[in-house]
């Protein structure tokens, strides 16, 4: 009895329940006749494409601003970078897909660094209610970005509304620029060696090596950052302000740093997400993305005070795994109806609600 309890304590009840749900969904998809190789390819792809956005939560939690609902700020920076890159690559012959990806990343990161610092300054003024304020920042920046999308003076036909000649479209196809470079075998196969190995099929299963590498690289960067002097100080600032101050470190500066890193990862995350997805989604599409990231890291086992990279990997797998299996399963059970879409919304928001209500799960020892 106590052994099972210990086991549950170790894994954390929310993780256990959601993990079981995930396994049940996978098992259920076999008798329903779903193509398993496609199911697993989809799980793998969605897991990796979301994981950098989830990774963006880690520096925020560690530096003491808690769950960064305002990661949308980074997302908008990334989207600005990506749209600029698309514009440049369609107007200049010389800008190829790889250059476009590079431009998108550079612009996104620089913008996110600047805005992240400002955002950190704001959060230092509202200590104690960061989660509320960051939620509003997240929503407001999306509203602001809607205006930006409508007024950007871009000329590329891939970007703007065909009939008006001004304002960007809702959905922008990345096929002509950097879409699928890291994850889509049909794109990578046209690339020169060794880039053609960045994604390939084994049987029906797609292995996106490029995505795996990028996620590993970002995780390594975050890990090494937390081994550095600044990273150690930042973790301490998030855990115990007085202690950090006693060691002669400015807590406020560490929080700004953490917020900026989180925002930068948000920008990188959305660019990698878009290149995997193959489309840029503008306007209100990123509105609820931060909630998915927050829910993922919580399911992964993080608390609102402490998070690790392993929480990112586990959380993203569970959340996106359920999202990508639940849909086809429901589709099979109830074909030709609006129900699958309704179920998708219920499942995704249900997980978020459940994760938020169980924030302390798996961390009962912390006080």
């Amino acid at each position: 009895m106590s052994k099972t309890k210990h086991f549950i304590d170790q894994i954390g009840l929310p993780r256990l329940i959601i993990g079981l749900f995930f396994i049940i969904l996978i098992i259920a998809s076999v008798p329903l006749g779903l193509p398993m190789d496609a199911v697993f390819s989809d799980i793998l792809r969605r897991w990796l494409m979301y994981s950098i956005l989830v990774l963006a939560m880690v520096p925020g939690i560690q530096c003491g601003i808690s769950l960064n609902f305002g990661v949308s700020l980074g997302i908008v920076c990334g989207l600005l970078g990506a749209t600029t890159a698309v514009e440049l690559s369609s107007q200049n012959e010389g800008v190829g897909p790889w250059a476009a990806l590079g431009i998108a990343l550079v612009i996104g990161v620089v913008l996110a660094a600047v805005l992240g610092v400002l955002y950190g300054l704001l959060l230092n003024r509202v200590k104690g209610s960061e989660m509320t304020v960051s939620t509003y920042v997240g929503f407001s920046i999306i509203a602001l970005s809607n205006i930006i999308w409508l007024t950007l003076p871009f000329k590329s036909g891939e970007l703007i509304w065909p009939l008006q000649g001004i304002g960007l479209r809702n959905v922008i196809n990345l096929e002509g620029s950097f879409g699928g470079l890291l994850s889509d075998p049909t794109v990578t196969s046209t690339q020169p060696f060794p880039l053609n190995y960045l994604a390939f099929d084994i049987g029906g299963l797609t292995i996106p090596i490029g995505l795996i590498l990028v996620f590993a690289l970002c995780s390594f960067f975050v890990w090494i950052f937390f081994q550095s002097k600044a990273g150690v100080a930042m973790s301490a600032a998030g855990e115990n302000e007085l202690f950090t101050k006693a060691a002669g470190i400015s807590v406020d500066r560490m929080r700004i740093l953490g917020t900026a890193v989180s925002t930068i990862l948000g920008a990188v995350g959305i660019i990698i997400y878009a290149q995997t997805f193959g489309f840029l989604q503008l306007y209100n599409a990123p509105l609820m993305m931060s909630f998915q990231a927050v829910a993922s890291i919580l399911i992964g086992g993080a608390s609102t005070m402490r998070a690790k990279i392993s929480h990112v990997a586990i959380g993203a797998l569970l959340f996106q795994g359920i999202m990508s299996t639940a849909l086809p399963v429901v589709n099979k059970l109830m074909p030709n109806s609006m129900l699958p879409e309704v179920v998708r919304i219920i499942v995704s928001n249900g997980i978020i609600l459940y994760a938020l209500s169980k924030t302390r799960g798996g961390h009962q020892h912390e006080k």
Binding site: I224, S228, V232, F243, A246, A247, G248, R306, E366
Partner: protein, 532 residues
Amino acid sequence: MEQPLILSMENISKEYFGNRVLNQVSLQVRPGEIHALMGENGAGKSTLMNILFGMPVIHSTGGFDGTIKIAGEEVKISNPNEAMHLGIGMVHQEFMLIPDFTVTENIKVGRETGQPTLLSESLGKSLEIMDWESMSADARRALDLIGMNIDDYARIAGMPIGYKQFVEIAREIDKKGIRLLVFDEPTAVLTESEAANLLDIMRRIANRGIAIIFITHRLDEVMQVSDQVTILRDGELVAIKEIKDTSVVEIAELMIGRKVDKLVDQCEDTRTLSDDAIALELKDYEVDMPGEAVRGIDIKIREGEIIGFGGLAGQGKIGIGNGIMGLYESRGEVKVFGQTLDLEKLGEALRHDIAFVSEDRRGAGLLLGESIERNVIFSALQIHNRFTSRIGFIRVLNRSESKAHTQEMIELLDIRCTGSQQKTGSLSGGNQQKVCLARALTMNPRILIVAEPTRGIDIGAKKLVLEHLLRLNREQNITIVIISSELVELRSLCDRIAIITEGKINTILKPDDSDADFGLAMSGLKKEMVTK
């Protein structure tokens, strides 16, 4: 002409988790007298009062032994409400008043007089209309009794502290059948004239037959106003004296008492202290630490010296260390080996080779969720870039170096743990203190400031920590500043002991000065002011 006692607490004993805090203590109060209750911090005054009021903290920790008699009748007081019905009231040190209410409302809160209405007849008493006239008449009567001429409809917010205190007193004496009032350090927050006024009012209340228990550490006030004094020390009853038969010096002596011999074995002393080699100098130094404010300290601490800062809680000794480390805003001049510190800059003291062991071990002292290793190396890593190696352009933690160092510290200080990766939150108090000390030592300091080094740790660990401090001083010539509430501790280790009262240095004493000297200094009196 033996008067019956209004309160008689007999043979009261109390244990908290096997730790005896009161042992066979008795307290006898006659009607209409002012009875002073004295003792150092931790002598058991508060526990005794908690028992009298039937506070939940007493009953949830196993109750107490002994009997309480009110006016000759044995009573069982199991909650503060019952105490109130028996006619016992308390004037709190921190005011329990509602700022946005008027004086009348504050005096009558919880005991309002109401007029029945139709609604209250059918739905219960809580819907009665307030009878403001009779309430403000009551309030007026209580205020007049203590000679206060403030308006009963004035709001509490914005009133001077002295007035708030009087409202609090008025509330207590307005209670029906009040027979005994407890004043807990009532003058601690008052100015001199306010305090004199308060003593006056106490006398007036007592003359009306209400007995007063007066808890204070100010000896002069006791002499001025009390009839009798009961002195506690370490949970024991030391003496009951008629004020007219005793003197300030005698009370001071009784409070401090001849305690056990020195806590540590002396080791060889080869130091030479010189007034030319000053390690730390404070000039007109002030710190804004809430509850422990420092209000102007001047002292020169010689290199190689162990200096103690003693005094009662709340007098400001704790503020000194916290201020120097930059945890609270401070003003004045701090010189470290002749160099002036920039008090605005965080971490300035650390960069001048001062290390600090905080009194707030679980707050400023430790990262409870992190490993021993992380805690030990933290400051040295941040300030001196130790335990790092370079990977490209970033400095990264050198795990093997830091682990080896932590292991060394664990052995040196005998930290009992499962390994350097154990979280500090799961260590015992004594071992947590050693981790704090290990972090300070890792800084290789020339000056070490240690606040309350033995608070909350057992006797064995206490001795070990103190002996280690002494060895550090003797062998490595580290100048040590010890801030402690425990006089024994200071008198065992220090070369000089500065007693802090009201944010200033009262007197600087030698460890072998008499108990009376220490007692007088701690109660805020200067030696030369007392006529023997």
